[in-house]
C-alpha cells in the first residue's frame, strides 16, 4: 500500500498530443487495456492508435477468458477463475465478475500480468470495450473448451445472441455439448470436434445446416464417412484430424464432377493411406494445373501450382493437391469459382 501511495506521478495529459500518443504507441497491449478503462477519452485514444490485433475469441473453460491474438503474443482477459472446489462446482452466470486478470502470454509463458478485484464491467461490456479499443479484432469466435459445462447457456445466448463463429471441443459432458448446439445454432461458421458425440461422428443433422465453413476440430483421429462429406453443403470443409481413404476420395471427386456439393470452394482432409494418382484419380480425366493465384481465406493471394486440374460437367474447374506434413498426408480440393481466383 505504501508503495502505491508513493508511486511516482506523471501528468500525461499535459504532454503535447504527439508525445502522449508516442507514450501509448510504446505501451504493451495489456497496459493499453488498463489505460483505456480510465475514461471515454482514454478509450478513444487507444482506439485511435489502431493496434494491430488479430482474431478475438471468447473462451469458456473452467473460467471465462477473452483472448486476442497479437502476432506471436496472446492477450488474455480472464474472469470466473475458480480457486476452490465449491467455486468449481457452481453454475456460472455471466454477470459482472469482481475479479479480472489480464495477462500477455508468449510461447506459453506469462510475460506480463495484472489483476484487480474491483471490476465494474460486465462480460458483454468487456467484449464491446475490447472490440472498440482494438478495432482490428472484429472477427470473434465463441469457444467452448474442456470443463466449460458449468456455464449457463441461456445466459450465454442472451449476452451473445448473434454469434457468427462457434467452436466446440468436448466439454466433458455429451449432454452439454448437445445443449450448446441446440441453444447457439445457427452460426455462419462452426468448428466442432467429432469426439463431442458419443460415436465420435458429427451428426448429419448438424452438417446439413448450410454453414459457410465447417471445421472438424482437433480431437482423437476419426474417419469421415463419404456420406457425411456429400451431405455437407458448406463452402469450406477443413478436417484437422479426420480422414478418408483414397478410394473414398476418388468416389467423392467423381460425384462432385457430376454435380454433388455445388457450393464447395475448399476441402482439406487427411487421407488414411498414401496419395497415389492411380487410386485417387482413377477413372477421372485430369491435367497438370497452370499457375493460379487464389482468392480464398487462408490462401488469399497465394500463387498455386503443381496440382491436378479436373473439370465438372458444368465447366467449373477444380484443382486436387496432396501434401505431407508431420508424417501425415493431406488432400485438398480448390474449386475455381470466379470469385475464388485472382484475375
Amino acid at each position: 500500500m505504501a508503495a502505491t501511495m508513493n508511486a511516482p506521478r506523471f501528468p500525461l495529459t499535459e504532454l503535447p498530443v504527439p508525445c502522449a500518443k508516442n507514450v501509448l504507441q510504446t505501451m504493451s497491449p495489456l497496459q493499453l487495456v488498463v489505460y483505456s478503462l480510465l475514461s471515454k477519452k482514454c478509450k478513444n485514444h487507444v482506439n485511435s492508435i489502431n493496434y494491430p490485433t488479430e482474431v478475438m475469441s471468447i473462451q469458456f473453460t473452467q473460467g471465462l477468458a477473452i483472448i486476442i491474438k497479437i502476432k506471436q503474443d496472446i492477450l488474455r482477459v480472464g474472469f470466473y477463475e475458480p480457486h476452490t472446489q465449491e467455486e468449481m462446482e457452481n453454475k456460472k452466470q455471466l454477470g459482472t465478475p469482481k475479479n479480472v486478470t489480464i495477462a500477455i502470454g508468449r510461447n506459453e509463458t506469462v510475460v506480463e500480468e495484472c489483476r484487480w478485484t474491483t471490476n465494474q464491467l460486465g462480460v458483454k461490456e468487456w467484449v464491446e470495450h475490447l472490440k472498440f479499443v482494438f478495432p482490428n479484432s472484429n472477427d470473434i469466435w465463441l469457444n467452448f473448451m474442456q470443463r466449460s459445462f458449468r456455464f449457463d447457456l441461456d445466459c450465454v445466448k442472451k449476452i451473445f445472441p448473434n454469434i457468427p463463429k462457434l467452436c466446440i471441443y468436448h466439454t466433458g459432458r455429451f449432454k452439454y455439448n448437445q445443449l450448446i448446439l441446440q441453444k447457439l445454432l445457427p452460426t455462419e461458421v462452426i468448428s466442432i470436434a467429432p469426439n463431442c458425440f458419443r460415436d465420435s461422428r458429427i451428426p448429419q443433422r448438424i452438417l446439413i445446416q448450410n454453414f459457410a465453413n465447417v471445421h472438424y476440430a482437433q480431437g482423437p483421429l476419426t474417419r469421415i464417412p463419404l456420406n457425411d462429406l456429400l451431405i455437407n453443403n458448406s463452402k469450406q470443409i477443413m478436417a484437422i484430424n479426420s480422414q478418408i481413404s483414397s478410394k473414398e476420395f476418388n468416389k467423392f471427386l467423381k460425384l462432385w464432377i457430376r454435380g454433388a456439393n455445388p457450393r464447395i470452394e475448399f476441402l482439406s482432409v487427411l487421407i488414411s493411406d498414401e496419395f497415389t494418382e492411380y487410386i485417387s484419380m482413377k477413372g477421372i480425366t485430369y491435367q497438370k494445373m497452370q499457375e493460379r493465384k487464389c482468392n480464398l481465406g487462408c490462401l488469399k493471394n497465394v500463387t498455386l501450382s503443381g496440382g491436378l486440374d479436373v473439370c465438372r460437367m458444368d465447366g467449373t474447374k477444380a484443382t486436387v493437391g496432396a501434401f505431407r506434413e508431420d508424417n501425415r498426408s493431406w488432400l485438398i480440393i480448390i474449386v475455381w469459382h470466379d470469385h475464388c481466383i485472382v484475375p
Binding site: L15, C19, Y35, L38
Partner: protein, 201 residues
C-alpha cells in the same frame, strides 16, 4: 545576468574544438551556456536547420552571442545535449507511424533519465520542441514503463488522469469562463446538433 557573466557548461570535453572541429554555443532561458559539437546537433532537426540557416563560421561562433533557446531551462538543456553528444553520428529513426513502436532504452539513456518526473516531463517537451526523434522515443518509453503492472486505479493516480465526470466538469468550467456571446453561439451550435441539423459550416 549578462551573457558575459553566464556560466558556460561544457557538455562533453571531447566536443570542445581542439582541432578544427565545428561547434556551436547555445544559451538556455536561465542563461546557462553550452558548447555542442556540430555532429551532436544533427540529432535535433530544429537546431540543425537553425544553424544551417545561420551559416555561422568558427569565428562567428566565438564572436557572436550564443544562440538563445528561450523556452528550455539549463538543467533540461544539459540533459538534452549530453544525450546528443553521446548519440552523435547515430542514424535518426524514421517514424513510419507503425504500432507497436519497439523502443529499447540503452544503459546510458536509462542513467541519464534517472531523474524526477518533473524533469522528465521537461525533457520530453524539449525533445519534442527540438525534434530529437530518438530522445523523444526513449523518454516516452520511460513514461510508458510507469504503467507496468498497474491496476486501473493505480494507473489513474500515476498519470493523474481525470475521470469522465472530471472531464465534464472541466469542460463546463471552461465554457463558463468563456465570453457570454461565444457561449451563446456554442449553445446554439449544440442545440442544432441535437436537432440533427447541419453544422454552421
Amino acid at each position: 545576468m549578462s551573457v558575459e557573466n553566464a556560466p558556460v557548461v561544457d557538455v562533453d570535453e571531447a566536443a570542445i574544438p581542439v582541432e578544427k572541429k565545428m561547434y556551436y554555443r547555445f544559451e538556455s532561458n536561465d542563461k546557462k551556456e553550452f558548447r555542442v559539437s556540430e555532429l551532436a546537433i544533427q540529432q535535433s532537426e530544429t537546431l540543425n536547420r537553425l544553424v544551417e540557416a545561420m551559416g555561422y563560421t568558427s569565428e562567428d561562433v566565438e564572436n557572436k552571442p550564443a544562440i538563445a533557446i528561450e523556452n528550455i531551462d539549463g538543467k533540461t538543456l544539459k540533459l538534452v545535449f549530453q544525450w546528443c553528444e553521446h548519440h552523435k553520428g547515430e542514424a535518426i529513426p524514421v517514424d513510419d507511424g507503425s504500432v507497436p513502436k519497439i523502443v529499447e532504452i540503452p544503459e546510458f539513456d536509462a542513467k541519464l533519465m534517472d531523474i524526477d518526473n518533473g524533469l522528465l516531463f521537461k525533457l520530453i517537451w524539449a525533445a519534442d520542441y527540438l525534434n530529437i526523434v530518438q530522445l523523444l522515443n526513449v523518454s516516452c518509453k520511460k513514461v510508458a514503463n510507469m504503467a507496468q503492472g498497474k491496476t486501473p486505479a493505480q494507473l489513474r493516480r500515476v498519470y493523474l488522469l481525470p475521470s469522465d465526470e472530471e472531464d465534464e466538469a472541466a469542460k463546463r468550467a471552461a465554457q463558463e469562463a468563456q465570453d457570454p456571446r461565444a457561449r451563446e453561439v456554442e449553445e446554439e451550435f449544440e442545440e442544432r446538433k441535437r436537432q440533427g441539423g447541419n453544422s454552421f459550416f
